[in-house]
Each structure stands twice: as structure tokens, then as C-alpha cells.
Amino acid sequence: MKTSPVLKTIILMAIICLSSCVPKETIVPKEKDMPITLKSDKYIICTLTKNMSPALLAEKFLGDEKKLWMIEDANKDALYHTGETIVIPLMIENKAGLYKNGYQTVPILCYHKFSKNCSSQYCMPDDVFASQMKYLKDNHYRVITMKMLLEYLEYKKAVPQKSVVITIDDGYKSAYDIAFPILKQYGFTATLFIYTEFVSGGSALTWEQIREMKAAGFEVGSHTISHADLAVQKPEENETDYIQRITYELVQSKKILDTQISQDTTLLAFPFGSCNQTVINICKTAGYTAGLSVIRGGNSFFRNPFLIQRDQILSLEPADFISSLETFQSLLLEDKIND
């Protein structure tokens, strides 16, 4: 069969046309799919040429997907769809979280023991804890570390809006058996405050478990050696004995934690949340940079780092839990001189 040259040309054209139908790789955005950007030293403004998540934008433009909150907070109503303009701040000028109608506060939740069946206020049932963590996730709270909070208190860096810190005191084994898997499930971390004498006791965490939690991103702070009330001078003690005992509780517990988990321990939760000026002075000399109490309330950027407030989560009522999550203090901060 002989094919005419015209037919040959047409078939060739058809093949070329068909070859353009081969689907292209679309999973990983190629350079041409990246947003069109305009950049200054303070902002990147980009128009999305493709649907893109804030995490992907954070990774590309801020070098760390964990900084996605900077993009989310700057683009409240964005859907991150093709054609949308997104503002990416390269620095946060409002690092104090000050607004016309008030200022940002960071609540710290304080837990102790977890169990399936609880009979004490210091024990949190596993199902209630799981539902509380789900509430945080569903309502877009951002669980931050104590390190981030301290940088905020030092006026170095901003923290995400709706920031929350989770702490677990004493070092009960249930922090590993119950809380750890639930926190991991939601991608949250917490800070453990350990009193060293208790470690490896019957119902206590072991050093191995503490190391494992630290490796998973948890922070570890001191809760003294013996969970001593640092503000109480014993009846048989004179002032010198008292200071010696307190110094030992603070210095030795730090040394033990430093050695056992290879870190420079700088966080302290006062047992019972109690302290006095002497205790704070010894803390500073011993090398701590923060002290946490159990006085209810959030922490603004001007909170003294040795008087950090926390809410003990003792009630099982959802309403009480929600009341512990105040991330904003209303106060009129408008410039009235100008009016």
C-alpha cells in the first residue's frame, strides 16, 4: 500500500499533536509553578499560580515550614488558591502583640498526673485530656515551646496568635504512657518539670523515658530535688540553713538534669508555685532564666520571667478548660493624644 506525501504529513502532525497530551508531573511544584513574587526587605508579596499551602510557602520563602504561622496570621481570610495575593512578612514588627483594642497573652496549661480512672483533682482522665488537645487543634491554637515564650518575654521574637504552652509537673510515669501518645497525635509538645528524687520511683518516669520525650521535642525543666516548698523555712532552720537547703535544691537538681539528659537546664517550676525574693535571687545565680508559678492567667510580653503564670487544669468541665485559654487582654490602646 502506498501512502501519499500529503497523508504522511497529516499523520505526522497528528502524532505531534497527540504527544502534547501526555500528562505532566504535577505533585511537586516546578519553578514555573512557584508564585510570582515581589520582594522588599520587609515583605514578599506573591500571587499564587497554583493552590499552595502556607507550610509550603513558609518552607520556600521563610526557610522553615514551622514558620507557617507568620503567613497564616498575616493573611487571615486567605484560601491559598490560584490567583490569590499572599503577603509574607519577613519580620514581625509587632513582636509584643499590641493592638488598638488590647494585647496578646500566652496561657500556660499545667497538668500533673494522667489516668484512665482518676479520683484526685491532680489526675486528668485520659479521655478528657484527649478531648482538650482536640479542642486546641480544632480551634487553631498553636502549641509553642517555653523557649519561644521566653524569646517573646525577652522582646526578641513574636509568637503566633493563639499561642499556648503545655507543661506537665512532677514526672509521673503517666506523662509517658498517656499524655505523650496523645500529644504526638496532634503534633504538640510539652515541657516536663521533674523533681529528680522521684525519677525511676514506682509511679515515676525513668531517665530513659525522659530522654525519649526530649528527643521528640519536649523540653525538660527542674522542679527541685524533693518537691520542696522553696518559700517555707522549716521551724528548726535558721536563715543560713534555709538558704543552704534552697540552694542545694536548685543547684543540685539542675546538675542532675544537665548530666542525665545532656542539656543546660534553665527552666524551673516552683513546687506548689511558691517562691519569694530570696528564691528568685538564688535561681538567677544558679543559672535559671525562668520560674513558673501556678497563679492563674496568661503571660504578656512584659511579664517578669521569674513570675510566669500558669493555669492548673483541675476541672474536667470543658467550659473551665476554655476559660484557661485566654490569648488576648482587652485594653484600649488607641492614640488619644492625636484625637
Binding site: L38, Y99, S120, Y122, N304, L307
Partner: protein
């Protein structure tokens, strides 16, 4: 031939229609237009905010306009204008705060400092004043809010009592000791700790863990000096311990296991040198053992 040609042409056209060979959309085409629109949008918003005296937000929008269009002189001037405006206002509020401080109106002073920092976050003096005031208030704060943990230790006491009721005496003692550190004179807690140690000692006696039992009866007595039963149990357990190791030593001695016999009797002697001529028995066993070793060596 003409028919074949028509079919082929129709095929090519249909492929074009279904979109397989449409030219690749070039998003960059709209770039210049978007850029101009955005710059205008940000600039107009900035002007509007400036008009409403929302200088913080106005500055931000001038900066966004300038980011979009770096040659936009008006946006650049807007930034400079807002910067000087905000700095001046921040300074005014800072000065106002110093006056309020002198009048003793500390809450109002703090509010002025916060306004100053909202307007100009790098107002170092405003931040220093804010922090200095917080530091001055530490003692007041401690006295009113923190003090000691007497009240807060009550929750630990509840937990401890629960453990005690569940006969988890070890855990109960751990929690009771926390309570005691906050309230060293709490007699009830001391009695609970004493009881918990006593219960542990009693269980250990039945399990023949006599040394542990002795230690726990002693602790029970330390926390409650009036515990007569502790004194009795301590004495009884000591007797049981001595008799147990005395007999174990006798058994080993009779089985000609002198080394074991010496070990057992030494435990008794450590506790009571006068018990059943234990010193004599030990000397005798040690002499025999020494002689046996000497014979072994000579062989």
C-alpha cells in the same frame, strides 16, 4: 484521497478543540498588570488609613505598596511620613507616662507605655520603664499572689489520702511528703506518713523482709514519736531478725558450711552483740575456719 485528507484535518482540529495542543498558559503575562493593580490598591488603602489616623496600619500598607512598586516615590514618602509621625506620637505617650507615674496613676502610666510601644515597637525607654515597673512590683505580687504553697498543698493531700485508702503506701508517702514540705507542722499528714510506713512494715514482716520492715517501723516512729505500737513492732521485728539469722547460722554450722554460718551470725552480732552468746559462736566458727584454711595451705 480527498476524503482521507478531510478526515485527517478534522482529527487535527478536534485535538485542538479538546485542548491537548492549546498553547501553555503563561501566568507571567498578567504580572505587570497585577503589579500595578496591587501597588495602587495598597497605596490607596494606605492613604485612607492615614486619613483615619491609623498610622501603624497606614505605614504597613505604604510598605506593601513600596514592595510591589519599588520606584513608587509617593509610597516611599508615605513610609517616611508615617515613621516620623509614629515616632513623635510614641514619644508623646512616653512623656505622658512619666507624668502619670509622678501622679501615682500607675495603671494609666502602663497603658501609655503600651500605647507608646504599639506605635513604635523600638521605643527602648518605654520598654525599659514598663519592665522596671514590673520588677518593682515583684514583692507586692509575691505577697499578694504567691506566698507559700500551704493552700495549694491541700490538693496533694487529697491525692495522698486516695493512695493511702487504696493501700498504695509508697505513692501515698511521696505525696504526703510534698504536703509536709509546704506545711511542716501538719500533724495529720505526719500521722498519715507514720501509718503508711507502719502498714508497709507490717506487710514486709509477713513476707519475711525483716530488714525493710525494720527500716519502715523506724520511719513510722520518726514521724510519730507517740506511736507505742511502732516501738513494740520494732522490738519484735528486731527479735525475729536476730532469731532468723541465728538459726540460719546454726543450720549452716551443722552442715559444716562455716563461711555461710559466719555471715549469718555477723548480721546478728551487728544488731545485738549479747544475743545468745553470738560473739563466742562467731569466734569459734572463725577459729575453725582459720585452722581448716591453714591445713589446706600446708597440703
Amino acid at each position: 484521497m480527498t476524503r482521507q485528507l478531510c478526515i485527517c484535518i478534522a482529527l487535527v482540529f478536534s485535538l485542538f478543540f479538546i485542548g491537548c495542543v492549546t498553547p501553555v498558559k503563561e501566568p507571567y503575562i498578567t504580572m505587570e498588570k497585577d503589579k500595578n493593580n496591587l501597588a495602587t490598591e495598597f497605596y490607596e488603602k494606605a492613604l485612607n488609613l492615614e486619613h483615619q489616623k491609623e498610622f501603624v496600619e497606614a505605614k504597613k500598607n505604604y510598605e506593601l505598596a513600596f514592595t510591589t512598586d519599588p520606584v513608587n516615590k509617593e509610597a516611599e514618602q508615605g513610609i517616611l511620613r508615617m515613621t516620623s509621625q509614629l515616632q513623635a506620637l510614641a514619644e508623646k505617650h512616653f512623656l505622658k507616662s512619666t507624668l502619670l507615674h509622678k501622679k501615682g496613676k500607675y495603671n494609666e502610666e502602663r497603658r501609655s507605655l503600651l500605647i507608646s510601644l504599639r506605635l513604635w515597637p523600638e521605643h527602648i525607654k518605654a520598654r525599659q520603664a514598663l519592665m522596671a515597673n514590673e520588677n518593682l512590683n515583684i514583692q507586692k505580687y509575691i505577697n499578694h499572689n504567691i506566698e507559700n504553697g500551704k493552700t495549694r498543698s491541700k490538693i496533694y493531700k487529697t491525692l495522698a489520702i486516695e493512695f493511702f485508702k487504696d493501700q498504695q503506701f509508697n505513692d501515698a508517702i511521696v505525696e504526703f511528703k510534698k504536703v509536709l514540705s509546704a506545711n511542716p507542722n501538719d500533724k495529720e499528714t505526719m500521722n498519715y506518713i507514720s501509718d503508711a510506713y507502719f502498714q508497709m512494715g507490717s506487710t514486709e514482716t509477713t513476707q519475711n523482709k525483716l530488714l525493710e520492715a525494720l527500716e519502715h517501723f523506724q520511719s513510722a516512729l520518726n514521724y510519730n514519736k507517740n506511736c507505742d505500737l511502732c516501738i513494740t513492732k520494732l522490738a519484735q521485728t528486731k527479735d525475729l531478725y536476730k532469731e532468723f539469722h541465728y538459726k540460719a547460722g546454726m543450720k549452716s554450722y551443722n552442715e559444716q558450711n562455716l563461711i555461710q554460718a559466719i555471715l549469718e551470725w555477723e548480721l546478728v552480732q551487728k544488731m545485738d552483740m549479747e544475743y545468745k552468746k553470738i560473739t563466742e559462736l562467731l569466734e569459734k566458727a572463725k577459729t575453725i575456719q582459720k585452722n581448716i584454711e591453714a591445713i589446706k595451705k600446708s597440703e
